[in-house]
Amino acid sequence: MSLAIPQGLDNTVERPGERAPLVLGETTTYHSVTEMVSQIAERPPSRAWVIGFLISATLASWFGICIAYLIYTGVGVWGNMNPVFWGWPIVNFVFWVGIGHAGTLISAVLYLFRQDWRTSINRAAEAMTIFAVVCAGTFPGIHVGRAWLAFWLAPYPSLNLWMWPQFRSPLLWDVFAVSTYGTVSLLFWYMGMIPDLATFRDRSTNKWRRMAYGILSLGWSGSSRHWMRYEKAYALLAALAAPLVLSVHTIVSFDFAVSQVPGWHTTIFPPYFVAGAIFSGFAMVLTLMVPARHIYSLEKLITVRHLENMCKIILATGTIVGLAYGTEFFIAWYGQVGEEKFAFVNRAFGPYWWAYWTMVTCNVISPQLFWFKANRTTPWRIVVISIFVNIGMWFERFVIVVTSLSRDYLPSAWGYFGPTWVDWSMLVGSFGLFFTLFLLFCRFMPLINMAEVKSTLAGQLHHHHGNH
């Protein structure tokens, strides 16, 4: 049953004509895959987990306190001002929505392109997507001013208002896009987990645990008839989620690009936002998975090859983002519209020059380090570069939102935006919420899609047999 693949094999090297294995380890069997993944949730939590959880839960609580303070006092506690009405809350929103894109992209788009290497990382990436969307959804929710009336955005027949929402507004498109995305991602994630939850159920020795996982796994038996429909549903969801991913960040980009604000109104925004979202999403997956893989000893399942592939995607999308930055600049000059020209010169050399150059350095220059294989295959370097990418992508949204608004058409209304302590707290707090949810997920849910990894392993075994 085991594979004759040496433990130390470098599966980043692939001879043309042969496919490098995606699951490593001489003694790796179906059962050992189950063991490797299940023990994470079955053993008592490690000290690192407890410490990490306490820190992030504290930050998440602080986030909650800040939201309560904001709702009680009003949005004046933020740095948002005239003319920068969209300050950090919207920067954070776009940032988190972007992070949320890698999950569905890995699950759906890579699935459609038959990229088997996704199987080891898709589960965690999907979970990350949902938690990022939770963080993202919070910000516009509290940014509407009277957060307790946010339900007015829904098109329900109201006896008090006697009116309907304005569907010609991009902000309402956003409501539908982000909520659809959250829902479909949740379905996709949950559906993917059903067989693995059944594995947890069948392994549990404790009655309550068995009952909890039993309810969550809906009585999954592994029947071939069920699998057949399940796979069809999975393929359908993938085919639906792939354009959905594109549409979500496209619509987020519409929020900006349909306006006439110089620096916002440019037609490249939709694909450029999507590329940027994938870029930051993969960086976040790497930031999470490299430590997780080390802590939970999952090197046989999440191999260096997986990491390398993600690095390549970061390199590709980072370069697309760089091309978009360049195109924007060129067209601003080519178009010869005064306000546009000013907006871009102002980005690079105006009062926010530091933000712009941070963005360029982190987003365009740092991923270029992935041209070197050593950087793509050394875990700590990957993490460092990924963190830089995340910083850069946060700054990208900052540059777009703040520099354009602070220097609008009307010079007498220009202003300089500065964040308040609430802004800072909410940014840090949203990370706390994100990590809290992610750590809970690692603790209680199957971190890796066991069924799919076993399927990949089966393919490898089959191939192995075929060659002899």
């Binding site: 796979e231 109104h265 490249i268």
Partner: protein, 423 residues
């Protein structure tokens, strides 16, 4: 699967050669094509729509449509080849050579670019309005703005840029074609590794060139208009055209007895998926571009769409929604359609035609508010068919003369491609 054992034929199997019936078409196609091209020009010069200046503008624009139609197919095929190497794709090996043959037409197409280059030097702005220095004045553009524009849009710099684009693309095409053919003989794995290693930078060069070539060759027809997405829009159309052309060519080759056992339903299924994907992608890009300009409603941008909402262009714009999106979208939605080579082939021909209309819709409204009447349509038709005949005839002639195999016979991933099965 053990049930699907493929017995590899030897590299010099006759079914890997261009079928004789197709090879025989090479010279007639090219000759008729060339003749039609010349007749088209003559009619345009003598009896084109409108006065002499209008007629020349119309004829040159129609020539540009014909040229970009052929060029976009080759351009898309170049990207197809590059991306297969970049992704180390296995499924596509059996059809990659067909794409490579389309791709190698780029150096030849560079010669057909010469009339456009000449037109760009016309002081009366025969094709590109900016080559007429008085355009700014006569269109009420502030002198300072126009001068600044002319720093980029001037005949000399345009020619240099076009030469750079053509040289870079031809270089890439020749390089990849040569290495791929070399492998037919040697079967060396290092060739694949080399092609893979260079595909990353090659894609970067390709993207830059495509973006700027689209700006220069097509977007500058309306010198004051700009859209950052325009390059992506042209790219989307080219990819659609390339996948269609590869499908059509493969189907025709198979119908003449070549590569019958190698290309299976599975490959058509995948091509069908890509066709469906690029129809959707094109729609996404076209809609996003329109939406942003429509919504913001800024005069300097709406000009382009405004032109296309006058006269006959208005109906064509609407028809594009149905013909370029809705019909092929619905047609290719079903797996049953995508698994029937004949239907995929039919949809590919259809998509090539609508791709032509897409380019026609991009270029021709800048030449005049009408379709140019009967003579205008005749000129467009002659030039397009002529150029396409020359393009295909030349390609067949080249394949025949150079004894180019129509399958990458010793590619290390060929067995994988042969055994390929969709889930």
């Amino acid at each position: 699967m053990s049930e699907h054992k493929h017995h590899l034929k030897t590299a010099d199997d006759p079914s890997f050669q261009l079928p004789a019936s197709l090879a025989a078409l090479a010279v007639p196609l090219a000759a008729v094509g060339g003749a039609m091209l010349i007749i088209g020009f003559l009619i345009g010069a003598v009896a084109g729509p409108g006065d002499a200046a209008e007629s020349w503008r119309f004829t040159m624009s129609a020539y540009l449509v014909a040229f970009t139609f052929c060029f976009s197919i080759s351009l898309g095929c170049l990207f197809f080849v590059l991306i297969q190497h970049l992704c180390r794709a296995g499924w596509s090996v059996v059809i990659r050579r067909v794409a490579e043959i389309f791709m190698i037409a780029i150096p030849a197409l560079a010669l057909l670019f010469i009339p456009i280059l000449l037109a760009s030097w016309s002081p009366s702005g025969v094709l590109y309005p900016w080559s007429d220095a008085g355009f700014g004045d006569s269109h009420g553009i502030p002198a300072s703005t126009w001068e600044e524009k002319l720093r980029y849009l001037n005949s000399g710099w345009f020619s240099v840029r076009s030469a750079i684009y053509l040289v870079l693309l031809s270089g890439l095409a020749i390089y990849y074609f040569r290495l791929s053919r070399l492998q037919d003989e040697t079967g060396e794995l290092t060739l694949t590794e080399r092609m893979q290693a260079r595909s990353g930078p090659a894609v970067m060069i390709f993207s830059l060139v495509t973006t700027f070539a689209a700006f220069d060759w097509l977007m500058s027809l309306a010198p004051m208009w700009y859209s950052t997405m325009f390059g992506v829009y042209i790219f989307a159309g080219s990819m659609l055209a390339a996948h269609s052309a590869v499908t059509v060519a493969t189907y025709l080759l198979q119908s003449r007895g070549a590569i019958r056992d190698e290309v299976t339903i599975e490959h058509y299924h995948d091509l069908g998926k890509f066709l469906f994907g690029f129809v959707t992608f094109w729609t996404y890009i076209a809609f996003s571009q329109f939406m942003l300009i429509w919504y913001a409603n800024i005069p300097e941008e709406t000009e382009w769409f405004y032109t296309r909402m006058q006269g006959p262009w208005h109906s064509i714009s609407y028809l594009m929604i149905f013909f370029h999106w809705l019909f092929p979208f619905l047609g290719l939605l079903s797996r049953h359609v995508r698994r029937r080579p004949k239907l995929v082939f039919a949809w590919s021909i259809y998509l090539l035609v609508v791709h032509f209309f897409d380019l026609y819709w991009i270029v021709m409204p800048q030449a005049g508010p009408t379709l140019g009447g009967a003579s205008g349509i005749l000129v467009s038709l002659l030039l397009t068919l002529g150029m396409f005949g020359l393009y295909i005839g030349g390609m067949l002639w080249f394949t025949r003369c150079k004894q180019v195999k129509i399958l990458a016979v010793r590619d290390p991933r060929l067995p994988e491609s042969l055994a390929f099965e969709n889930i």
